[in-house]
């Protein structure tokens, strides 16, 4: 790790044009890790121009040639996965067990998956087929894609954005989050190692100001944003009426529905995975547990027993289950909402666990006796805080699950197949997991309903966001 980073523009590490720098800290200790540049409008302009200049050659390559670069990147990611996992863990605060076993394998899988599509775009179902064959106009890349990603899965979100963009022939300017830029900058190195042509991938660091400059830049053809609903809304507003394509992947407040015939032990694992995976800092986290009243006590007892075995602490310890909260600001928000839950009358419970003295920590927490009007049942907390509500009938479960401005994900737990299908068909959510939770796969599209955004990432559907079809 260097002590100071600039941007990655046109295949080179370059200094930022402004004087301002930001510092990324280790959430587990609160100590600074490295300084990096606050991207200015000038930096953004330079990056967009580099991407524009690289576009004709890159999009003109046969798909099979682009695929070679993507395969190469995927293999380098696999080779360097330990290094990347450690770096991600240090910068983000998430446990090494998750970066090693979940994030990095998925990152490589996304590049492999979209590498496979690069020479098959004509067959992805987007060509203008007629009954007499195709009309001759296949799907075409859009141009320069501006991509802004969040801090909860820094490298995975980068992969979700960059892999399909490159496979389809677009060039990219990506801005990582200001609290987690390190793995994106390491990825820049990988692009060089893979011999990716200059300007195809550019990375500009900085905070929201840099992001705003990038998404509003007149030279971009496509904006892809993953982050808060609030920021997504302002981007949508700024792009409204323009020719720029936009896809948004925003907040969520997923319902995890546990019916009385659920496999209880696995449901408890799913609940734990749903809300404590990545300290609950997951847009599709199962933060609202809807339990059928008849098994409420049994499930809560099992859940608390299980929560008591969660290890909270040093993210680099291979046995840690729950790591640090990403930033002081995020910790403050989680605290505020948890306090609101208590103030509004819900019962708060956390297992006895000693939290480290320095850094940003929040114990796994569950609220029982939550009613639908409580803030903790409505607002996205983005932390390890679970709100438990009950229901009596399947109709009530669906009504409560859908009663949110969000619609990103949901979970259904029951041994009865017909009830899974009945429930899933009625849930207004982009992803419905049944008898599992937080499972990701590059072949499976991901995206939201309502205020959780629009557009899909992953799978064949994920190609469409980067193609003129």
């Amino acid at each position: 790790m260097a002590s100071r980073y600039g941007h990655f523009i046109n295949g080179e590490a370059v200094e930022g044009s402004g004087r301002e720098t930001l510092t990324t800290v280790d959430p587990a200790t609160g100590l600074p890790l490295a300084e990096f540049a606050q991207g200015t409008a000038k930096d953004v302009d330079r990056a967009v121009r580099a991407a524009r200049a690289a576009f004709p050659d890159w999009s003109g390559l046969p798909g099979a040639e682009r695929a070679k670069y993507l395969f190469r990147i995927a293999r380098i990611i696999q080779e360097r996965s330990r290094e990347l996992a450690v770096l991600e863990s240090i910068d983000n605060g998430k446990p090494i067990r998750e970066t090693r076993d979940v994030d990095l394998p998925l990152v490589a899988a996304h590049f492999f998956y979209y590498a496979g599509w690069a020479d098959k775009l004509e067959y992805a179902g987007f060509g203008r087929s007629t009954t007499a064959g195709t009309s001759g106009a296949g799907p075409r890349p859009l141009g320069v894609a501006a991509q802004v990603i969040p801090w909860n899965f820094p490298l995975l979100m980068l992969a979700w954005k960059i892999a399909p963009a490159l496979a389809t022939g677009n060039t990219v300017v990506l801005k990582p989050a200001e609290t987690t830029p390190l793995t994106a900058l390491r990825f820049a190195e990988i692009c060089r190692q893979a011999g990716l042509p200059r300007g195809v991938v550019n990375i500009v660091t900085g905070d929201g100001r840099t992001g705003a400059a990038l998404t509003a830049h007149p030279g971009v053809d496509k904006v892809a944003f993953t982050g808060s609903t609030e920021v997504g809304r302002s981007i949508a507003r700024s792009l409204a009426g323009s020719r720029v394509r936009l896809s948004l992947e925003l907040g969520g407040k997923a319902a995890n529905i546990v019916y009385d015939d659920a496999p209880i032990d696995q449901a408890v694992e799913g609940i734990v995975d749903g809300i404590f995976f990545n300290q609950g800092q997951v847009c599709c986290a199962g933060s609202r547990l809807l339990v059928q009243e008849s098994v409420h006590d049994e499930v809560m007892e099992a859940l608390k027993r299980r929560m008591a075995t969660l290890r909270v602490g040093d993210p680099l310890d291979k046995n840690t289950d729950v790591g640090a909260i990403n930033s002081a600001a995020q910790l403050a928000r989680i605290r505020e909402l948890a306090d609101a839950g208590e103030a509004e009358g819900a019962q708060r419970w956390s297992p006895d666990c000693e939290l480290p003295a320095t850094g940003y920590w929040f114990a796994p927490t569950v609220f029982t006796g939550v009613s639908a009007t409580h803030r903790i049942a409505r607002e996205e907390i983005f932390g390890p805080v679970l709100s438990v509500l009950t229901f009596r009938t399947p109709e009530e479960a669906v009504a409560k699950a859908n009663n949110t401005p969000y619609g990103l994900s949901a979970g259904v737990w029951t041994e009865k197949g017909s009830r899974i299908l009945w429930t899933a068909a009625r849930l207004r959510a982009g992803v419905v997991w049944s008898n599992t939770f937080n499972k990701f796969d590059p072949t499976s599209p991901f995206g939201g309903y309502k205020e959780s955004g629009y557009g899909r990432e992953g799978g064949r559907h994920g190609l469409e966001a980067y193609l003129d079809v």
Partner: protein, 337 residues
């Protein structure tokens, strides 16, 4: 660190030697239908989630002092087993000597929990183990198929007990279980339990083997577990070691969850024994992680958790030597049996 031989397991809290079932779960076995309703009313097991959980626990990192502790604990939990048609008294005596003192060069190595043999060799093992604290376990009830009449099974059991077995490992009739004759299985377990009673009124410890590889799914494994516990088993055991699929971490996890839930329901603690296919220290440590994270300290003792294994001990000994000396030894530095 349990360097002393394991103490005799305490008698089950509510059971008498003759009729434990009704006291544990009243009315469960009133009829075949009642038993079926009860067993089929247990929560299901989702195989995908179960496998994921078992695999996740398998990635726990156990190092240094924790590893040294776990290796000794695992040694003290072994039922050192020889169940071959070719078994001879000499072979059994040799195994018993190894059970008493697994590493001749290092007296700090704990004894194993038991030596597990066929009933006809129980007396030989008894004689070889007297005074050692190592217990004699005998498989009975037409092991390994369990396909014999009740009278044969009971005679088999009685012979083992009379020969001095401290523990009886019985197999259930998988055919009866799979065809839904739960009450028959239940009553057989009860009858075998009664046959475990010695003239002085004490009873041999009863381990019930399910042969989980033949039960056709995890729902059935959980049902078999509850069935045996309700019928009076002191231990529930995965398999005989005689079929293709023996103990696996997921199947053991189901049994661990079952004993946990059974104690919550009845207050009675039951032991668990995975058997067959556990050969390396790494495997054994993974099982101990499963126990620790599912049941906690209460079960981390040879009284409540056993490994049915024969080749595991040597690997544990080699790992132990590595930890002590800092160097890997080799198979010639541990005894073959």
């Amino acid at each position: 660190m349990p360097s002393t031989p394991p103490a005799a397991p305490p008698p089950p809290a509510t059971a008498t030697a003759a009729g434990p079932g009704p006291a544990r779960l009243a009315g469960v076995a009133a009829s075949d239908a009642a038993l079926r309703r009860f067993l089929h009313g247990l929560p299901g097991v989702d195989a995908v989630g179960l496998h994921a959980r078992a695999a996740a626990l398998g990635t726990r990192s156990i190092k240094a002092s924790a590893k040294a502790y776990a290796i000794d604990l695992a040694i003290s939990m072994i039922d050192l087993t020889t169940l071959e048609g070719a078994d001879t008294p000499g072979k059994v005596r040799s195994l018993c000597a190894k059970a008493r003192r697994p590493d001749p060069g290092d007296p700090s190595v704990p004894s194993t929990a038991a030596v597990c043999v066929y009933p006809d060799l129980a007396a030989t093992a008894r004689a070889a183990l007297t005074g050692s604290g190592v217990r004699v376990a005998a498989v009975a009830t037409a092991f390994p198929s369990g396909r014999a009449g009740l009278a044969v099974k009971l005679a088999d059991t009685a012979e083992a007990v009379a020969a001095g077995a401290d523990e009886v490992d019985m197999v259930i009739d998988r055919g009866a279980f799979l065809s839904g004759r739960y009450l028959e299985v239940f009553e057989t377990i009860q009858a075998v339990r009664a046959a475990c009673v010695r003239p002085d009124g004490s009873a041999a410890h009863l381990k019930v083997i399910f042969e989980t590889g033949e039960l056709g799914g995890y729902d059935n494994v959980r049902r078999a577990g509850w069935l045996a516990m309700a019928a009076g088993a002191d231990f529930i055991k995965t398999s005989t070691g005689k079929v293709a699929v023996n103990a696996t971490p997921p199947v053991t996890l189901v049994l661990l969850e079952a004993v946990r839930d059974f104690r919550a329901a009845t207050g009675v603690q039951i032991g668990v024994k995975p058997a067959g296919g556990i050969r390396t220290s790494k495997d054994a440590l993974k099982y101990l992680v499963l126990v620790n994270e599912t049941l906690g300290d209460d079960w981390l003792s040879p009284d409540w958790f056993r490994f049915g294994a024969s080749s595991l001990l040597n690997d544990l000994l080699m790992q132990r030597q590595k930890l002590t000396t800092g160097r890997y030894s080799g198979p010639d530095y541990v005894t073959v049996d």
